[in-house]
């Protein structure tokens, strides 16, 4: 019995390492084609449809999520700040949270669901219906043709969508704080920018969005490429793609926050929002 458990754990570990190795090779091929094809104008025509799919079609959902995050942050933080008589400083917390953490992470999670799911489903269906084999037979590398344009679109557009989500989050928080909770308008913006949101905070959110976009594209495309057969196989690829992207976003966010914090303290030292 214990031997069987060890065998099962060993088997599962080997399988996981095997899959991770495959994923690394997949990522390696993607970067090789990315660098090799960057200056080939012929490949640029593949980008436009992906920009539309990843960027334009995500605008409504990312906007709605961004605005409501700001609104919820205002409602939740106001009571705590009011209890200690600091309600006029509520803007700094709302905006720092939106710009640095919640905005980029939730925008990325929304994209993992909307774009990542669509990528895994599309490529999974292409695999099941032999369209990926057809590409290979016609001498076109599927990674170059399918993955690289999607990767570029996700990497370039996730930060733009994050910035857009941040703007709507800030506006959502401001509307609730100023017009519903009656925080003085001038104080709201004054404390938001003095000791609150600065270039560093904005850039931190935008920079991590590049990583999130890359992770969503690579994970979802990999899952689609290795989808099982039939409708259930494609469905499983979508679910696994979303779950793995979500976990990657959370882990990358932690690593990035840790690194960014160390850098910030090394450059500026500790700063208090009540300073």
């Amino acid at each position: 019995m214990p031997l069987r458990v060890v065998e099962r754990v060993g088997g599962r570990t080997t399988e996981l390492l095997d899959n991770f190795g495959d994923f690394c090779i997949f990522v390696g091929h993607t970067f090789a084609w990315l660098l090799g094809g960057l200056f080939n104008v012929k490949h640029w025509r593949l980008l436009l449809p992906q920009f539309y799919e990843v960027g334009v079609r995500s605008v409504p959902v990312v906007g709605v999520v961004g605005a409501f995050i700001g609104m919820v942050m205002a409602v939740e933080t106001y009571a705590t700040f009011a209890a200690i008589g600091q309600e006029s400083r509520v803007g700094s917390v709302i905006n720092v949270s939106v710009v640095k953490q919640i905005g980029p992470v939730l925008a990325a999670v929304m994209l993992a669901g909307r774009v990542g799911g669509a990528l895994a489903a599309e490529l999974g269906t292409m695999r099941v219906t032999e369209q990926i084999d057809a590409l290979r037979v016609m001498g076109s590398d599927p990674i170059r043709y399918l993955v690289v344009p999607r990767f570029i679109a996700c990497v370039l557009l996730t930060p733009i969508l994050t910035a857009y989500s941040d703007v709507l989050g800030i506006l959502g928080g401001w509307v609730i704080a100023v017009f519903s909770l009656h925080v003085p308008n001038q104080a709201y913006w004054y404390y938001s920018t003095h000791g609150g949101v600065g270039t560093w905070q904005i850039m931190e959110g935008i920079c991590k969005a590049f990583l999130f976009g890359g992770a969503i594209a690579l994970i979802s495309c990999y899952k689609g490429f290795n989808s099982g057969s039939g409708a259930s196989g494609v469905g499983r690829a979508c679910t696994e793609g979303f779950v793995a992207s979500f976990i990657a976003i959370i882990i990358l966010n932690f690593i990035f926050a840790e690194a960014s914090q160390q850098m910030y303290q090394a450059i500026y030292g500790l700063k208090s929002i009540f300073g």
Binding site: T129, Q131, D133, A134, R136, M138, G139, S140
Partner: protein
Amino acid sequence: MSLIEFRNVSKRFGRQVVLDHIDLQIEEGESLVIIGASGSGKSVMLKHMVALLQPDEGEVYFDGRRIDPLPERKLTRVREQFGFLFQMGALFDSMTVEDNVAFPLVEHTRRTREQISRIVDEKLRLVGLPQVRRKMPAELSGGQRKRVALARAIALEPRVILYDEPTTGLDPIRADIINELILKLQRELKVTSVVVTHDMQSAFKVGDRIVMLHEGHLIFDGTPLQVRATDNPIVRRFVVGEAGEQDLEALRPTVG
């Protein structure tokens, strides 16, 4: 020298041996039909010919050159000489018929848009579908989809066309249209054809040589006339479409 050659090729998926030390030569201009039961490994064999799959053992040659160990980048030149008709057509469903047929030309040639458009028109006429070029694959019937896929497969004027179950899922009349099309392409383009099928009517019509794959081995190799005259019981049963004792055993009632 044969155009395509399998030397001692074996392929396993997990514990299942699909191809077991297969030797096969296909000559230029020949029309070879591979028959066998569903799941016997016919499509696997076809995919080895264009290195979509690599053998676990053995070697695959095209035009005297070993192709199975070649990396994907080097296979491009080899694959340009093949046209492959997939079982379900494998048309890109995000593109129109015109874009599908033009795809290999856009990817691998430096022709102008007008030249490509002319070739697309010519290939669609060749398969008898000049009127569908603006349609999406989802708007086509099964037979039309296969014919468009065939137009795409011949866009680069390949030396070899591989057909994976070209008549499966079609009614007898549409299946016969596909058979006639295969013969027409052989006549007009002088290509080598390899057809995988379990449709014996199609096999007899388009093949000038038939091989049968059974449990990983090639158990028969001969002309259509030799197939009709064979006394090999497995081949005979397959040709007349008769279930064996072993197959029927599973259907017999177990109680009462």
